[in-house]
């Protein structure tokens, strides 16, 4: 039985439906990341788990018991807010101990728990300070300490890193992952940052306009996106999506992409499971930048490398890699080449397409074929 179950959850504000039937389960010790563009309902979903928002329909269960009618304080959850929500009038120690105090935990026990949490997060030297005397990263740690000290059944994180600068964000991301590994806590985490989702999650739920697009492991979400939205949203730079047409070739069915002065013929990617791709059917070819390289960088284990010559539009050196942009099928296509690849804008170079890693989508429904 799953630890956390969300069943048929709907949330309406007046006539607006914010969450349109959400079903997710999470096992004990799992790290679920809710990801999606702003306004997709991910924060609302988190708030319904916390009990800060009521639900219109459905059920939220923890260990088989419905909690959706319980007061937030009775749900045995802890939440880390985007703004940290530290009580400004209390010291760090008082902030961390507040929840215990409200639950009538004796003072000696409280102090021991605070010391323990402070040690885990390395904020022992800050305990006597007020939140206004802390830096952003320190506040973040205190907010996490406040959740940690409770030892709740579920931790909720609401975009906890979005107020930090880029470097600190990466550090804290590692810290959160380490914390999860150390405590084996069950975590639900909201973010709009797909890299945070990929790096932290054991399970990702991609949301769009109040509907779940796909639930799966980071690997599944990245390599087998259920539809065009997920394919486009996850990954940076984004997956290349090109219009193509199914056609009969010499001894095989292939897809054809139009380009200036001709067309490119590629085999049907091996990932395609749907049968009956009739001739003339319109499809969208999806291929990630790292599956398009130069000839040398091509994956030697791949059984389907296709070389396509194309004119380089823009070269973007990113240090560890060089992103090369060209135009195919009327779209910009980004390839990820080694940093030392000898490529100049304007030149015609061979691009090695790894069709093993390519996907086909139905342009009408958006679903993967």
């Amino acid at each position: 039985m799953a630890f956390l179950e969300i069943i048929g959850l709907r949330k309406r504000f007046a006539s607006m439906e914010i969450l349109k039937g959400i079903d997710i389960t999470l096992e004990k010790g799992g790290f679920l990341v809710l990801v999606g563009p702003s306004g997709c309902g991910k924060s609302t979903l988190l708030n319904t788990i916390a009990g800060l928002e009521t639900i219109s329909e459905g059920e939220i269960r923890v260990e088989g018991r419905a909690i959706n009618n319980l007061h937030p304080s009775k749900r045995d959850i802890a939440m880390v807010f985007q703004s940290y929500a530290l009580y400004p009038n209390m010291t760090v120690a008082q902030n961390i101990a507040f929840a215990l105090e409200m639950r009538g935990v004796p003072k000696a026990e409280r102090e021991a728990a605070v010391a323990e949490a402070a040690r885990t997060l390395q904020i022992g030297h800050l305990l006597k300070r007020k939140p206004s005397q802390l830096s952003g990263g320190q506040r973040q740690r205190v907010a996490m300490g406040r959740a940690l000290v409770r030892n709740p059944r579920i931790f909720l994180f609401d975009e906890p890193l979005s107020n930090l600068d880029a470097k600190l964000r990466v550090d804290m991301r590692v810290e959160i992952k380490r914390l999860h590994q150390a405590t084996r806590a069950t975590i639900v985490y909201v973010t709009h940052d797909q890299i945070e989702a990929m790096t932290l999650a054991t399970k990702i739920a991609v949301l769009k306009e109040g509907e779940i697009q796909q639930v799966g492991t980071p690997y599944e979400i990245y390599n087998r996106p259920a539809n065009l939205f997920v394919a486009d949203f996850m990954g940076s730079p984004a997956m290349n999506l090109m219009d193509a047409v199914v056609a009969a070739g010499s001894g095989r069915t292939e897809i054809r992409l139009t380009r200036e002065g001709g067309e490119i013929r590629l085999p049907i990617p091996s990932s395609v499971t749907a049968d009956g791709l009739g001739e003339g059917r319109k499809v969208v070819l999806g291929i990630r930048p790292e599956a398009i390289t130069d000839r040398n960088g091509a994956d030697r284990t791949s059984k389907a490398i296709e070389i396509v010559e194309a004119q380089v539009d823009v070269v973007e050196p990113a240090g560890s890699d060089t992103f090369v942009v060209t135009r195919l099928a009327g779209k910009e296509v980004t390839a990820r080449m080694p940093a030392d690849a000898d490529v100049r804008a304007g030149a015609r170079v061979p691009f090695a397409f790894n069709l093993d890693k390519a996907l086909l989508f139905d342009p009408a429904t958006g679903l993967r074929l």
Binding site: P72, M79, A85, Y87, P88, F98, M102, R103
Partner: protein, 297 residues
């Protein structure tokens, strides 16, 4: 003052800015003196003997300073038929102003808390009606208020005045606190709820400790208004239970014998000292608090 000077200093050529500064400060000084003049006259007159007042210059310092008028005003001056000074009325005012300020400030804070953090259907209407209370002229509520005080058995006494001032002050105190709490982050309330704090625990432990500036503003505002109120005092508390302002009027208006300006001035100083003290002690928070309440963030 220092911030004004440091802002003005780097601007323009040295000579021009200095001239401008002298002009600005000169005008400010002139106005300050002008506004302080009545206070000065009151103070010097209250330390003069009657003879000196009659013969001398109003602005002159006392030749032979005496605290006799102060003593008389406090304990011996005749108000109406009794000659026990204003001290009884001074305590009347204290007994009125302290509970009235405390209760109206507390209730205003609670109202503001509910109207921003525990919103209910129609909260805007309720707030609108409370705002409306700020614009009702005192005079128009005198008769209904008298009727209600009569029904409650609180007519002609300090408790009745406390009630009147609490009711009348609620509109203002609610407005102050609501606007202040509007900018108070709601995530803190949510965090406290998850932490297990209830309605009043959040109020006492989280909200009130962060309300220093607005409490100071409200207390100064309410204290000044209630202490200085004359209309309600003279309408609902006459004779022995009258507040300071009414007693002062009666003292000055008493027309038997010689008019003792020095005693009148000393009595007026007694009436003014509490509000002056409140301003001096908490004045710097007043401006800061007003800004904090008005501007979000």
């Amino acid at each position: 003052m220092t911030s004004l000077a440091s802002v003005a200093a780097p601007a323009g050529p040295v000579g021009g800015s200095r001239l401008g500064k002298i002009l600005v400060y000169g005008v400010l000084l002139l106005f300050a003196l002008f506004f302080l003049l009545p206070l000065f006259v009151m103070i010097v007159t209250s330390f003069k003997t009657l003879d000196e007042i009659r013969d001398g210059n109003m602005l002159a310092l006392p030749v032979a300073p005496t605290i006799e008028p102060w003593i008389k005003a406090w304990g011996e001056a005749c108000i109406g038929l009794t000659c026990a000074g204003i001290k009884g009325y001074f305590w009347n005012s204290i007994k009125m102003v302290v509970p009235a300020v405390a209760i109206s400030t507390m209730l205003g804070a609670l109202n503001g808390y509910v109207l921003t953090k525990w919103r209910f259907a129609g909260h805007k209407l309720v707030f609108g009606l409370m705002l409306f209370a700020c614009f009702i002229p005192f005079q128009s509520v005198l008769i209904p208020m008298a009727r209600i005080l009569g029904l409650l058995g609180l007519a002609n006494g300090t408790p009745g005045l406390v009630l009147v001032h609490v009711v009348y002050g609620l509109g203002f105190t609610t407005l102050f606190f609501r606007n202040y709490y509007e900018a108070f982050p709601s995530e803190l309330i949510k965090a406290a709820q998850i932490d297990g704090a209830g309605f009043f625990q959040i109020f006492w432990r989280i909200i009130l400790p962060s309300s220093g500036p607005i409490i100071v503003v409200t207390v100064i505002f309410q204290f000044t208004n209630i202490w200085n109120d004359f209309l309600f005092g003279s309408s609902f508390a006459s004779g022995e239970s009258a507040p300071m302002t009414v007693a002062l009027n009666n003292l000055v208006a008493t027309s038997t014998g010689v008019r003792e300006y020095n005693v009148d001035m000393a009595a007026a100083m007694f009436a003014a000292i509490p509000t002056l003290l409140v301003y001096v002690l908490a004045g710097r928070y007043f401006v800061r608090g007003l800004m904090a309440g008005a501007v979000k963030g």
